[in-house]
Amino acid sequence: MIAQPNESPRLEERIRLEPDGRVTVFSGKVEFGQGIRTAFAKIVAAGLGITVDRVTVVLGDTAQVPYDRGTFGSRSIAQDGEILRRAAALARRLIAEGRPLEGPIPEDVPVGPPAPDAGPRRVEAPEIVTGRARFVADARLPGMLRGAIARPPVRGARPAAVDDRAARAMAGVVAVVRDGDLIGVVAKRQAQAVAAAQALEIEWTVPPAADLDTVSIPINEDAATLAALAGAATRVAATYAMPYISNAPIGPSAAVADVRTDEATVYAGTQRPFGLRDELAAVLGLPVDAVRVIPLMPSGTYGRNSLGDVAVEAARLSKACGRPILLQWSREEEFAHGPARPACALDIEAGTDADGRFVAWRYDEHTNAHGYGGTLDPRQAAFTSGRNAVPPYVVPHLAVTLHIEPSPLRTASFRSLAAAENVFAIESVVDEIAAARGEDPLELRLRNTRDPRLRAVLEAVAERSEWRERPRGDGRGLGLACTLYAHGTYIAQVAEVTVAPNGRVRLGRFWCAIDPGRVIDPNGVRNQCEGAIVQSASWTLLEELKQRDGRVATTGWDTYPIATFRDVPSEIDIELMGAPGEPPTGVGEPPGVPVAAAIANAVFAACGARVRELPITADRVRAARR
């Protein structure tokens, strides 16, 4: 789904001058650690010629901000940042003319130079380091109670019989709620709610697994592809795979709901406040105008908050017992019941002529729905599950097909959607072809790339990393990967790894050249790049959600290790290459996309082990090295 900017933004919906001279800015985007509050404050402050501390940014409160489809796809700066930039320029002119701040914001308002990188790095930072910041789970309302949900053993199981006598008799229990298939406990204290939910005796009926079909969607068709492949001078066919992984936020999902007979207020860590408002209104049987969603900071999540699950559950509990409810999922619930990133099997075959130019490329991507909201809409599948399935190279014959397979687990969008899986396959096979031809994978890429911006990031990262000169072998290797991410962000990366005799991979330095168009907040961009690289390296080397037939075995961090301070690269070097004249294209997702291939290619360079399945464990490296 590509969210469209608000059709005709109006100034009075965006910028308000307060009687005390402060300025309030409104956006439907939400903050979950990506720094947009700061970026928006800087954009408006620069446009108005005032200091950042005079700007208050209101994000996502459905009672205050204009409609917005949601915060995803690294589009916040490109969409609302640009609207606010024009809004601030217009407001400045109207203020100078002594006119009220209202009216449509035209496309062609002359804007000043981009905001300088001055002022506070993150406007929320002082509150976070002093403990004054309020996350969703920190919201406290008068009369608020705690909820806990009784979870079925597997998705789709339904309660056949519930014995709540023991639970009801427990200390602090106020109500046992049964609302359709939702069974929950409301208690005075968190520990009491959790204990009582565990004391519920429930017989679950597990329905037989639905026999759903695979949906195949052609993304690029070319009937001559197979014949052209057969005639290729160098041809590599390989299958790559990735397991289910979890968003694994450090703070499990939480929401606070206060549902009254004729209105509801819900505090949530949602990426889609208006979508959640509509969903809540439908579930609660209230008109949408009677439901207010107020986003508070969740723990960082990376896509799973496109779903409203925890907020809807909190609202149902609150409605049933007539009191405000804080529902905080447990760590185990987050792993077992939060939506997972789909698993995939990526079948690819690519060939070049004798000069190392691609002649044909066939790609069959088998994955699950990566949708926002978890549903599959074939019209959107190419943008979600099919994101970046098409290689960024010149390929005369290209056949790309997306196969969306049913999943026993609930799946949803996760940072960069399917781009991370597709680029793992694409950039691995390119490396394999270079190896088969016995040439430098950088030269192979450059030869097959016409896009000057992609060439520029490749050249830049090669120079920063001393790609051509740096010694390899003996357990040390460098790997290269690049992409043109969906919306137009160009990235090239080099990973340095060492592989121990037992197969254990350690990250050394990591280089990243990124061209995301105009950069508004360079430090914020660097922070996003570093974070995405660390997170994606963690997916690549460590992560797998263990499940069988939809029963998740992962319950805690002991069975789902993520990168710690000991595992992260020793250094991350980032070169920002955005041209000031180019529109900003987003940085939250793209830097994580080429990471898996860069690391896998580095492992190959270090020890000759081609690992085609993630995570790249010591076992897999040893097996591939033989």
Partner: protein, 152 residues
């Protein structure tokens, strides 16, 4: 059950069920929410507080056990309206994204710097390894700890 705790230099009286964790008491009875719930099992560091200067998992410590220690939370790191060096260093280095893990990191860092005023990179990595961060700010946090060490 009634308990008396010393938190951030103040004695606080509590009436909570036996077995209540320090984390729950801080967040729900004392209004100190900087220590956060992440796993409840001692595996993530989000709930860290100082107990007599050592970083401990408040999700695994009962209020009863906590009564024997001087407890300091992130709310108690600043003194007299001045941020502690480690707090300003995290701001300066922008060592956070969502900030959910930040309290725990600050506590680990404060405990480390009290023991070892000029830690090496490896000592910092080891000391903060119990603090999981999904947003990936580890390299910035290491820089922040070093910056704070220089200012001490």
């Amino acid at each position: 059950m009634r308990y008396r705790l010393e938190v951030n230099g103040t004695l606080r009286d509590l009436d909570v069920p036996r077995g209540t964790t320090l984390l729950e008491a801080l967040r729900d009875d004392l209004g100190l929410v900087a220590a956060r719930y992440g796993c409840g099992r001692g595996q993530c560091g989000a709930c860290f507080v100082l107990a007599d200067g050592r970083a401990v998992t408040s999700c695994l410590m009962s209020v009863e056990q906590a009564a024997a220690h001087r407890i300091v939370t992130v709310e108690g790191l600043a003194s007299g309206g001045e941020l502690a060096a480690i707090q300003s260093a995290f701001v300066e280095e922008d060592a956070m994204q969502c900030g959910y893990c930040t309290s725990g990191m600050l506590i680990s860092a404060a405990a480390l710097l009290a023991e070892q005023p000029s830690p090496t990179d490896d000592e910092i990595r080891d000391a903060l390894a119990p603090n999981l961060c999904r947003c990936g700010v580890q390299l910035r946090a290491i820089r922040a700890v070093k910056r704070a060490a220089e200012q001490l």
